[in-house]
Assembly symmetry: C2
Homo-oligomer: 211 residues x 2
DNA sequence: CGTTTTTTGTGAATGAAATAACAATTTTTT
DNA sequence: AAAAAATTGTTATTTCATTCACAAAAAACG
């Protein structure tokens, strides 16, 4: 694997580059400079050049980057050719919204199975995705070779769910609950704490804003 | 203002500390050490002590921190006494979920007004919150003294909406669209890019996971 | 009451990421 | 074809964040 010691911060920006490059290609743009990219994605141009340089010399001095070539290159790095199957646990408020959105148009992932305990929705199809009983979790995860799960259950059952996902063989969890999950360290947890995002924003504008 | 040069990273952790302290207090715990906190919130104990130390000496050597005192202290810093009114623009999939959740039980904010262009929901009440026409944006923002907005509209109208919010006097935006908004720099934008979170997670497990 | 244990607060060390600055190279212009 | 302009790739520098490590202080114990 070429991309071995890519900074984590760089990795987080890759999908953003990719998405914008796709946009550029669709609009017929053939070349782009780090400065133009910078305007769009709002990272410093030097940061962008440095990010790209981890993968080799992708641009041409005095010219910039070839949009199509760059997009193709990042597409491969991001595995855009293979569609990842993802599970969603907890088809409530937020789970429903994610199910319905389903990422497919905008990424290489799709939610393939959902799980809940509510008998009203278990064994129904929601937004085109089958909702299974939590009892079927292990079986479905294994059968469908799912290795990433989105967790949108109430906080008090999150740790339980995480443990079951872990033993079922999941390798990554996108955790929307405010709880910090305890899982084997071979499993990657990405926390999305929406309440925290809002509270942090409020803190900043209350303490450092103008007015 | 005491808290002037608090690292951004610290600020992002404050609501997490606060939330956990509340939990501890509810469970009747009277004292806590940085190590215990570390177990719960999964930040290094030294990081926690350093974070706290920006606000002075809040603990007692050989004892730890007094849960109630610490909670009260952070509550003030986070303005827990005043309820912030927030606007939500775009009552779709995700907007609906946020409306329904509404943060009130878990934080010092509540969504006070929502906006959309869809005539089916304009001038209705959704999850207890009035949905106004986008035409009323400026008036409502001003009248209700709203200074933070959550943006959950389609990407192609996000920049327009952001501009209107900016001129309406909003000081912070929680942006759920994949677009990086252009706003005056006095306005703080917090991006929540869910597709990116998922893609980054996939990238990491595909490239650095075991198996 | 003295000794041991616990735990903070912080200086110093380390690590990670962002930015600046510029030579090297290519393109564009005249 | 020479001069000017654009733009990369990278080295050096700066900024920001985490972690180590330990003296200082308080608590617990015997
Ligand atoms: N909705 C939001 O806007 C929002 C914002 C911030 C945080 N969150 C967090 O996201 C999580 C989900 O929030 P929500 O508003 O969608 O909650 P919700 O109550 O609407 O949905 C939870 C769903 O999980 C299901 N469930 C309960 N126990 C389960 C189990 N053991 N296994 C599988 N499914 C189970 C419930 O039946 C329900 O359908 C919560 O932890 C919440 O704190 C949500
Ligand atoms: N839903 C998700 O899970 C999810 C995931 C990742 C990203 N996003 C992003 O979040 C945003 C919202 O997603 P969604 O799934 O809720 O979309 P959606 O289409 O369900 O909802 C968008 C809402 O905005 C309204 N709207 C359109 N133009 C408007 C305008 N000018 N002013 C006010 N309202 C307007 C529409 O009527 C609709 O109600 C999108 O930018 C999407 O890319 C959503």
């Amino acid at each position: 694997m070429v991309e071995h010691d890519i900074p984590r911060a760089t990795a987080k920006r890759l999908p953003i580059y990719y998405r914008y490059l796709k946009l550029l290609l669709d609009s017929g743009t053939v070349r782009v400079s780090s400065n133009e990219l910078s305007d769009a994605v709002k990272f410093d141009a030097a940061t962008i050049r440095r990010d790209f340089s981890y993968f080799g010399a992708l641009g041409k001095r005095g010219y910039g980057y070839d949009v199509e070539a760059l997009m193709t290159f990042f597409g491969e790095i991001l595995n855009q050719d293979t569609l990842a199957s993802v599970a969603l646990v907890g088809v409530g408020n937020l789970g429903q919204a994610l199910l319905n959105f389903n990422f497919h148009q905008s990424s290489n992932a799709r939610i393939a199975a959902a799980f809940d305990v509510n008998p009203d929705i278990v064994n129904t199809i929601q937004s085109g995705i089958p909702v299974y009983s939590l009892d079927d979790l292990e079986k479905q995860i294994t059968d469908q070779r799912i290795d990433v799960a989105i967790v949108t259950v109430p906080a008090d059952v999150a740790q339980d769910v995480a443990k079951r996902l872990a033993t079922a063989g999941v390798r990554g969890i996108l955790n929307f609950t405010p709880l910090r999950l305890d899982v084997p360290k071979s499993i990657r947890v990405q926390n999305v704490d929406l309440t925290n995002e809002l509270q942090t924003l409020l803190y900043f504008i209350n303490n450092f804003g103008e007015k």
